[in-house]
Subunit: 413 residues, 2 copies
Amino acid sequence: MKHVLYGKCVKCGKTYEATPNLTTCECGGILDIVYDYDYIKSQLTKEKLAERRNNSMWRYRELLPVEDTTADTPLRVGWSPLYEADRLAAELGIKKLYVKDDGVNPTASLKDRASAMAVAKAREAGAKVIACSSTGNAASSLAGNAAAAGLKTYIFVPSRAPKGKVAQLMTFGATVISVQGSYEETFELSEAAIDKWGWYNRNAAINPYLSEGKKTVGLEIMEQLQWKAPDYIAISVGDGCTIAGLWKGLKDLYAIGFIDKLPRLISAQAAGCCPLNRAIAENKPWHPMEENTLADSIAVGVPRNADKALMAIRESNGLVVNVTDEEIMAAQKLLGRTCGVFGEPAGVAGSAGLKKLCEEGKIEKDATVVSVVTGNGLKDVANAIKACGEPISIPGRMDLLLEEFDKRGIVVE
Amino acid sequence: MKHVLYGKCVKCGKTYEATPNLTTCECGGILDIVYDYDYIKSQLTKEKLAERRNNSMWRYRELLPVEDTTADTPLRVGWSPLYEADRLAAELGIKKLYVKDDGVNPTASLKDRASAMAVAKAREAGAKVIACSSTGNAASSLAGNAAAAGLKTYIFVPSRAPKGKVAQLMTFGATVISVQGSYEETFELSEAAIDKWGWYNRNAAINPYLSEGKKTVGLEIMEQLQWKAPDYIAISVGDGCTIAGLWKGLKDLYAIGFIDKLPRLISAQAAGCCPLNRAIAENKPWHPMEENTLADSIAVGVPRNADKALMAIRESNGLVVNVTDEEIMAAQKLLGRTCGVFGEPAGVAGSAGLKKLCEEGKIEKDATVVSVVTGNGLKDVANAIKACGEPISIPGRMDLLLEEFDKRGIVVE
């Protein structure tokens, strides 16, 4: 990989050759993939990109840590739509809002970006089996992307994982271990098993390539905005890998001169589980928290990628905001009603956070904001129904319909 | 619309001016939109299409019944991936198989294509409200596409509609009436309400434009195959609108010389509800059937678009195949395991049918086949779990993991 220099520990700075099965630093720190931006600049231009017909994350090959000879992964991951959300912007009282719907990825979440990268690197490593622990989406995306590539998967999920995600895993033919315990216990068991059997490791805070997959969401947002950086990008935060990946993508583009300013990140966590945001707000090291939220994908009491995430929020002069389950559910309905986008609870936490910040007057009225929806609401129907209520239920008779409309004060236009 | 001649009744041949709120013929027959193919040929070339960056169904504007001035609808519908499914082809014993995953549409089903068209035509008609009845997917797609466009919706679903679809509807802010009865009773109530209040009608067998939206799946398949028509296209059939739309798209392309042969259609219905396939198999008029299948989207005992669907199957010299619920569930797992594609029960019926025909020796071994997956498995998680089983559930301990692997005969590679 001519464009990749090495993996560098974010804690101690030690560097490692960028072999396909790179994990963490011997000091325990997480590695960051460091690029030769001068070389990349000599290879990639905006015009070249604009010509490309590859509507997947692999259109950004020059910025991704794979060999030239490594094939695109089979499922079409990325290049999700960026919608202009004018009605929602008006409701929030900001100038311009875009919603990036990553729920239309093949397994219906942003995590497909990391899992596609895991599959690409596992192939480079000659691995036949990939494993991970996950609150659900990393798992289902790995299972799907690996199945399409003919690789076997072992997946560890906490028993609270929503049924939709478990159904995906089982359908994709993964061997699924549902751990009766927290995400932390799930993670520990997966690490022990990976150690024992030598499987390719897709745990996002261990394998430094996965953030590089996730960063493509940032690359796309900028290309879709014709390289005009917005003022803010709001996103939900659990383990910390996604916001760290997003930030990496933005910094890459800044380094190669494709954008001339960096947006501020808005880190949205659940009020019931916000160790990273608390660390920022109190300007202290992070400490574990309970996992008290219905937003399962971001219910991470012991964030595995705290270092990179905190660095990203701080470097971007970011804002942190914690949202209650009620605020998350309200954001689900708000996005659905105004944008036709149905996000899962964790997926809309960024939008819920943005709404809250707008109400608190913390976002300038002339700001341009991007809100990333990280997963599809169909992943967690039980909670969506809690949020949105039940339909009118009647036998097929017009008189009963009129009666119900009357009772509910529905005035037909 | 210079490229549209008129709407023509498929029963009596009477023609109607193509106004935006066209419904059925006075004889009760369904209308077909008839184009001026010479004019279209003068406007559209393969090269022109290849240049286009519009990765949605609206890239085929010259073949769609909308005014030049009508805007693309807001959600990004269509241009779903067509995957080469080599491992599945090998398992089925055919030369080449492609899987078209329409479950990645914005509301996760092929019906988005028809609903986007409904929204476009409702706007042309100046309507502010759209209504429909649906087994679920037409409903959720209408609710989503209309919400994104700022239109109000009234939606009628049978009470058996899966929770995932209902959650979508409610989230998109539709007024939802769940009818305690069959699809037929649901349909009748929706028609009565549409009559009463004059809402824009999105019932696919009434509004002739909707098939024109659905046909884009056929246009895309052909463009994605570089205009080399496959031997067969397999698809699930309920109301009949989708297979009729697919066929219309193929015929359009043949008429303007973009393809030089027409594929044979494979019409897959549920064994417990196959009035159209029965009519073909027995070469008799169709008769209503019970709705006995878990594949809710194709559980249509009184198909509303029987005429167009039967015509499509016959004209294409098509094959019919009925699949049991067990065969449908097996196809869910097969597609998941070999392709990383998770389809809902009705969505994989086409693949289940193809598998059955292959086993019966009815598909030539050197055939090239496209199988359309019409909806995402996340729409109906309850049935997916029935199909795929439950994960291994243990506390987070290595000894218990080893014990379980042993018990289940899982040999780790």
